[in-house]
């Protein structure tokens, strides 16, 4: 291999490495956290909001009551329907 040809190959390989290496390093994940810094209170943005929990709790009480009242009403209607059907089947006295 002539010197000229060797230098072309080496230059191409070196420039490829430089170009690809910068891309590869750019895609690396950031370095892991080296240490934890304690604070006295949770930052405001990270705090779990209380209002949705409070509203959900109150809404659940209402919803549970409504569902239960509806279930009683449905069962009562079923019993009344059965009573009417049975009364029609019974021979007159």
């Amino acid at each position: 291999m002539s010197f000229r040809r060797l230098s072309v190959v080496l230059t191409t390989a070196l420039s490829s490495f430089v170009l690809l290496a910068s891309t590869a390093f750019a895609q690396q994940a950031p370095a892991g956290q080296a240490g934890f810094v304690p604070v006295d209170s949770v930052p405001l943005a990270d705090q779990l909001p209380a209002a949705p929990l409070l509203i959900t709790a109150y809404a659940f009480v209402w919803a549970a009551t409504m569902v239960y009242v509806w279930s009683i009403w449905r069962r009562l209607n079923k019993v009344e329907d059965e009573m009417r059907a049975l009364a029609q089947k019974m021979p007159p006295r």
Binding site: A50, L53, L54, A57, Y58, F60, I72, M83, L86
Partner: protein, 219 residues
Amino acid sequence: MMKKLFVPLVVIAAAMFAYAPVMIANAPYESTMGLVQKIFYFHVPSWFAMFTAIAVCGVASIIHLFRNSPRADRIAEAAAEIAVLFGLMGLVTGPLWGRKAWGVWWQWDAKLTIALLLEMTFISGILVRKYGGPGSDKLAAAVGIFGLAVTPFVYEAVNIWRTIHPLTSVVPTLGASMAAPFWFCVAAYFLLLALLLMLRVNLGKRQAALDELYLAYED
């Protein structure tokens, strides 16, 4: 008498439940928990209503077991179902409060676990009635009495065992500004309990009348 009272009581209960959020909103914030502590105003009354329903169920179950009273059985059946309803309210509102106050939805400590077991006891009573066949009313009555016997332990669990749940001393030591909305909510829940009991007992009466009609038809 009960029929005449029913509608006015429904109106009063609806008005109380509509006004309760206003009183709760005006109550002061608790120093460490802030806004989420306001779940207390309907979490604790749910348990009070459940314990009262259990007391009604237990006494009616004792009467039914020893006197074979169908009326007492109907009351016990109704009260057991309502105890499950209020227990469910307590078991749902509690974790919503705990998620913010403790950082977890649920903790397997003595108070929470025994409360869950109490709820499951009354669910089992309902299942026994539904699928237990002949004599299941007596079995369900026994379950009701067992539930009544367990209830004081559920209430006192926080004083007996170490738990993360607030102590029973919280309610008697409430300041006036917190006590007023709290006892207002308790009254609303007791009214709701009475109304649901009346409705459910009436359903039991109609079911008993239907059973008698079937017997007459078969004869």
